[in-house]
Homo-oligomer: 391 residues x 2
């Protein structure tokens, strides 16, 4: 049994939403919670002190990136990811599968562009998938690399996160039923090999569900993961938001209630409500820092709404003289100290502080959103809160 455990402390009466606690050696995680992404073992332009202050409880870093630089052996030598990045709290790593996908089939199909957008120096290369694993070229120096379930788990054990993810193959939303099924079978094989390779008892290993948009494959995958893992990650392709919700419903209906559920790579405000309502406990996304670097900041209801996607562009002339904080309801360092006018000026002047202030605000915003959702669940007010935000 893993030393990392999950406990449900409250279930919503009108939906599948629940509040829980994931206990790890590095501390407790109050779910549901948004998981900020620190790709290279840093949440871009947000320092760990600000992350603590805003109430972030867990950070996700990318196995693929850290394997290539600085390497898992160095991070192990520094006592693992949490100490290495001076976060001193729970961490999670992904399997590397998504990044490898975005170099291969994802590139071909024009999907999963995350890697290229995130990395200025990226030169995507095709990869080769065999039953054994995936061969690809590093986006940093073109060197030949190989990832397999055993290698991914070995890297993740050395990185030492509390929550880790089994190695998987990613389907494309453009794949046919047969192609998706073939990919799922490969994933199932790799998941079992991941379990076999995994030795560290202090890490909770998530199995990843796949199956594209095909109900029977999604149900099959959910049951397979539920049978073999103590924690469920939802991965793979979906066509749109409605389709995503449908996939989550199929999956959640086919897994055990008492296991924690993580949705990979999702983080829009409306998604967060829809996912929590359907029983998701945690989700990670680069959205808050990625849009932050281009000047977009989140604003809460009623200023933010579905139509404006809860976001505004600080570069707009209307903010040049605006004395208000980014978000009137926000308690983050940026909102407590700076006007939109000042941050507008910093952005126009390309001052580094601007990226830091908006990114800090945006991460705070999503972490805080999940905290008030958790409070609403505890007080049986989830549906009311959702209605208030998604009018």
């Amino acid at each position: 049994m893993s030393q990392t455990s999950f406990k449900i402390i409250k279930k919503d009466k009108k939906s599948k939403a629940r509040a829980g606690i994931i206990s790890t050696l590095h501390g407790d995680i109050q779910t549901p919670i948004f998981v900020p992404v620190g790709t290279n073992s840093t949440v871009k332009s947000v320092n760990p002190r600000d992350l603590k202050e805003m109430g972030a409880e867990i950070i996700l870093a990318n196995t693929y990136h850290l394997h290539l630089r600085p390497g898992e052996d160095l991070i192990k030598k520094f006592g693992g990811l949490s100490k290495w990045m001076s976060w001193q709290g729970p961490t999670m790593t992904d399997s590397g599968g998504f990044q490898v996908f975005s170099l291969g089939v994802g590139l071909e199909h024009g999907v999963g562009k995350l890697l290229r957008e995130e990395e200025g120096e990226a030169k995507p290369r095709l990869n080769k998938i065999t039953k054994e694993g995936v061969t690809f070229q590093s986006h940093l120096d073109g060197s030949k690399q190989f990832l397999s379930p055993e290698i991914s788990i070995d890297i993740q054990e050395k990185l030492g996160a509390d929550l880790i993810v089994a190695f998987d193959d990613l389907e494309s939303p453009k794949h046919t039923y047969e192609e998706t099924k073939k990919s799922l079978e490969l994933t199932e094989d790799w998941l079992l090999r991941s379990i076999k390779a995994h030795k560290r008892k202090d890490q909770l290993l998530y199995g990843v569900t796949h199956g594209g948009s095909f109900q029977d494959l999604r149900v099959r995958s959910a049951k397979f993961v539920d049978k073999n893992f103590n924690a469920i990650a939802l991965g793979g392709a979906h066509k749109n938001k409605k389709n995503m919700s449908q996939i989550v419903e199929w999956t959640i209906a086919s897994v055990s209630e008492e296991k924690p559920r993580h949705m990979l790579g999702i983080g829009e405000v409306d998604d967060i409500f829809e996912l929590i309502q359907r029983g998701i406990d945690t989700f990670d996304c680069v959205i808050p820092t990625r849009i932050g670097r281009t000047g977009f900041f989140f604003a809460s209801t009623p200023v933010g709404n579905i139509k404006n996607r809860f976001r505004f562009d600080i570069n707009k002339p209307q903010f040049r003289t605006d004395p208000k904080p980014l978000d009137a309801n926000c308690t983050c360092y940026a909102c407590q100290n700076f006007s939109r006018a000042y941050i507008h000026h910093l952005f126009r002047s390309r001052e580094l502080l601007s990226y830091s202030l908006i990114s800090t605000h945006n991460v705070h915003f999503l972490v805080n959103l999940t905290k008030i959702i958790r409070k609403a669940i505890l007080e049986d007010k989830f549906k009311t809160l959702k209605k208030q935000w998604l009018v």
Copy 2:
């Protein structure tokens, strides 16, 4: 009489060094102290909270830059520079003369390149100097601009800093005696016009001494400024460090002891000791953030020394696995929390956090250096401390 005043509380017995207090409406400044530069009303990639924490007591912003963007009227509307940038402490502005110089004669003579290095978007343009003032083109949009003593003072009154600087013409180190003398005469005229234009009694107006490397001109300028101003700024050209010390000695010998003295644009570790020893109270410089953005960090004695200029390049391979903090003796946020190895990794990954961490450290380093020098002066140990650092 200005509501901003200066008091000497201790004089060093063996040199001209002294410890004092500049009292302003925004708080006291314990001198000698290093003044971090926030060109665009932000110390590049260092937030005001970190500046407070490290003990910074006053920030200098650039009149030229803020005039062009966002404009002094907006900053006035926000309650002045200190509130605008959420610094909530004493501030200083320069006259704009240096930036205008670097667009004109400075560019021609290959000196004063500060503006071009500081601003990615800079397209330097020649300017035209008349008795009335200086015509130049904005480096932002090419628009025609005009600065005069009256306009510089008007801008600085609106910006609302506690310490401001009279408008001056800058000589080039390549100027002949006659050219330097002509420039000095223009400066003297502009200084008197600056005094006449200055109405705000809460601001202390510094006159600027010039005269290149010519002793009689330096002495003449020092006496002129001392006669007409309650605060002395040392500006203009020097040929090298030795020549700079000589110029400071000529100037200090010709001004009243009880007036505060600011050296414009200087901030190397050895300079700081030499200047304080010769009677300088405050000095500003972009060095800590400028070198910070390229990866250079300051280290204290005995690791840092005159030969290595108290600085190291974090990008060097030797730091890849180094568990030590940037500087073993430093109490800044970066040194208390992160290893050189981690910051090396951030720099190699071009992560924004790296610029913030090293810049914060470097500014902290110089502010702290002046604080321990002040303590040494109070304890009659200045020469001992200087010997310890500049072996």
